[in-house]
Assembly symmetry: C2
Homo-oligomer: 492 residues x 2
């Protein structure tokens, strides 16, 4: 067997095992009996041990050396590039550090949750400091002389740099702050949807929404979870949702968001299954697929017309009686502290703030003892509101407690990519609105599949988005879209 | 680290991975999207490859050699015995044969299902012959000069021999054939429960039955499956059931049967989790736990009194209006071809027939070409009825197509063990019937936990049953119980 083939066969089993580990995570968050947590931790640890051993197996290095000469096409070359990148990354992290990080982050999540519950930042700081110290050590090991933050970012958005992201964010911030101020000060303010909306009906509508977005139920399913997520690849990508009886948009738009993620996984060329190409190319591109489904398509005037009719049929006595007011209500911008509950206008401001703070933490320019004050000062500046308590401020997100530094900016990059794709899709699928009005988003999903999904990880994210959108990656399409959309809704 | 500790640590990860593989099987049979079958096959194969590599890892042999001198107690000694037995078994099977068997049995299941659907024995024979040839080769490799059938049996009922089982069966057969004849010829025949019983109500009652048997819902759950099974261990043992709207006993007694299995797994001493002691000691003992729950307890006059009241409340217009007729109906004996639908009187006759036939097949005394005729001749002799079609005869069970030779007798051994345990339990828990009449089987489950479950695989099955029952293993308690019970119901 050639080195290339041996490497591919080895990778195939690794990919299958990694898919099993992911399925175990789905089980834990949806159907696992609550008394099984300790056992599941052991099972996950066993899978991680097997996967870590495989990912750092020295044979990978030997096969890679021999396989370079056996490359036949662009796909082969990209597979070696991806496997090599992962191998170098994994082998640069000392085993001792990997173990310490696993232990510390697994404990930290509980400490963070308790501190948040008690509104007690001080109780979380020693833990955060320890995680930060370990992540800085990990970053230095991977960076191998390069920038530490970029080394962490690279795990989520390969090849991206803090500098390039900062350039995009610097362009976005003033226009977003301005738009936020204009919208908040507008005379015209959308009605808020009020009432109680039965769970069963919400879930039925959520299924209809998923179907409207072409979700393939023969390769997926929908369950309930505390924090909705999508999970799995290729022939089996499942979504989860949640129900808040006073707010049906929570369930419906969570569902559409997760369908966006799953459609990406299910749309990858089936030949790439069990290979390094068989996944989303970056978290930013992944988020672009959930965001374009949820926002540019799902919160459009056209799609909400269909949704308004469905909800009017399903729920008695809604306090909104026409599609225009419904559209405005779906897109309502309100003051709020919490990132995950934010609207399209303010969401990216939440991200930019975290991006700047975590860069400073990793660089050592900001100490954890000063983090809360830095957070609150910045929040007041960008959002015009003072943080009232830690659970609405620095303790709101789980990310840093589990060591996810460099992860936040991918959310905003997803929005930027979604803006680029949406502009191109609008031109390429001119009768899309007519279809959306009938509750059929599949022409959009087809366009995304053709231009994004099917490629998997073959094309790096920037050329992928540029090839799909026919223009350089830029925040302009997103900002233009937001100013136009919210200008119209708020009569600016 | 000592050899003993190194072996235990290695085993711990293997047990965790094996638990993950089992969970994957549960997922496949309950919640997996139907389009995911190919992917799941790859995932299962990857897990099996990892497990096989671990189970044949030469370090096990080295650790075993060193660990013998480090044994401190009976538990340590038994762990080494169990790990050593599995290691010798696994390493005796040539890799080529293991691969061929995996491939052949995976294909054979589909061929068997198609042949059964078409009532076409001839279409299945070449496949059966191939499987048989491979299993004989495997048996010879494991037996290492000993008896081939015993070598296969040993995988399911360690240490048991065909000779010892045949001795028990020879004792049982005449009394069972006689009892079957008497019951079939009796003047008094129970009423059959008729009607349509809504699914939701059946499932609600099934949950109540599981609760009546002390099933721990914090460490389990119930789902639907085509063929009910229980799955998982320690902190997470799940049951499945099915619903036939014309026959609620199918759902209710499947549920109780699977709860019997899961209670065994959940009742094992928690210190044995992730060790070689953390499992049922043999398939026979496992089946005894499902059978005693389903039959001796679940189909008792006392428990059915409670069940009759619950069903009368739940279903309108049942055609049975008193607890005596209900008890007789639950225990009704009717002619039938199918093992899995059989009653307590005839079930073991089905098993004995398969045991004799498969011993002849493995020994080469019976050729697959003559199997159907041998089956039909024997069926007429034991059951007094001629087989009408292959799906009611030689093609009814999946077992041989997937290479399970030596598995069938464990079902009947389970009934024999259940008979022994039931006699002792009746003496040890004298007010059990009063409790069962109130729908509470937990005093029985507690007795079983104390005497069987908690030991896991610590004590081999024969001493375990003898210690629990205070008498040598014998079919007499089962046969006495059956003659007394059915003598009363049929007024013999």
């Amino acid at each position: 067997m050639s080195d290339f083939d041996a490497l591919m066969e080895f990778q195939r089993t690794t990919e299958a095992l990694s898919s099993v580990a992911e399925r175990l995570g789905w089980d834990q968050e949806t159907v696992m009996p609550r008394g099984a947590t300790e056992q599941r931790a052991e099972e996950m640890a066993a899978m991680e041990a097997v996967l870590h051993e495989r990912r750092t197996d020295p044979r990978i290095g030997e096969w890679l050396d021999g396989a370079e000469a056996e490359v036949e096409d662009e796909e082969d070359a990209r597979m070696l590039e991806l496997i090599g990148r992962d191998y170098r990354r994994q082998t640069r992290i000392p085993a001792r550090l990997a173990t310490e990080l696993a232990r510390a982050t697994s404990l930290a999540q509980g400490i963070w949750a308790e501190a948040r519950g008690n509104e007690d930042v001080a109780a979380f700081l020693p833990t955060l400091s320890e995680i930060l110290m370990l992540k800085r050590e990990e970053a230095a090991a991977i960076a191998d002389g390069g920038d530490a933050y970029d080394a962490l970012l690279d795990d989520y958005e390969p090849g991206a740099t803090a500098q390039s992201i900062a350039a995009i964010f610097d362009e976005m911030r003033p226009r977003l702050v301005q738009l936020r101020d204009d919208v908040m000060g507008a005379d015209r303010q959308p009605i808020r949807l009020d009432g109680q909306f039965p769970s069963e009906t919400q879930l039925r509508l959520a299924r209809q929404c998923a179907t409207a977005f072409g979700y393939d139920w023969t390769r997926g399913r929908m369950d309930l979870a505390v924090h909705p997520f999508s999970s799995g690849r290729w022939q089996d990508s499942r979504i989860t949702t949640r129900v808040v009886t006073s707010d049906p948009f929570n369930c419906l738009y969570s569902t559409i968001h997760e369908v966006g993620h799953s459609n990406y996984e299910l749309g990858i060329d089936s030949d790439y299954a069990f290979t390094a190409l068989g996944r989303g190319v970056s978290l930013g591109v992944h988020e672009s697929q959930s965001r374009i489904a949820e926002n540019q398509i799902g919160r459009s005037r056209a799609f909400t017309e269909w949704l308004f009719a469905r909800m009017s049929d399903a729920f008695d006595g809604m306090n909104i009686d026409n599609a225009d007011d419904f559209y405005a209500s779906v897109n309502r911008v309100t003051p709020g502290y919490i990132r995950t509950e934010s609207d399209e206008v303010q969401y990216n401001l939440h991200i930019m703030m975290r991006f700047d703070l975590e860069r400073d933490l990793i660089a050592g320019r900001l100490h954890t003892a000063d983090l809360e004050e830095a957070w609150n000062t910045r929040f007041l500046k960008d959002f015009g509101v003072a943080v009232d308590k830690p659970s609405n401020g620095v303790l709101q997100d789980v990310h840093w407690s589990v060591g996810l530094f460099g992860y936040f900016p991918t959310y905003a990059l997803g929005n930027v990519y979604a803006g680029c794709l949406n502009r191109a899709m609008g031109a390429a699928v001119p009768d899309l609105d007519a279809s959306l009005t009938r509750g059929d988003a599949t022409p959009a999903v087809e366009w995304l599949r053709e231009n994004v999904h099917r490629h998997g990880a073959l094309i790096p994210q920037v050329p992928l988005i540029e090839q799909a959108s026919g223009a350089p990656v830029s925040a302009d399409p997103l900002l233009d879209y937001l100013e136009e959309k919210f200008g119209a809704i708020y009569d600016l």
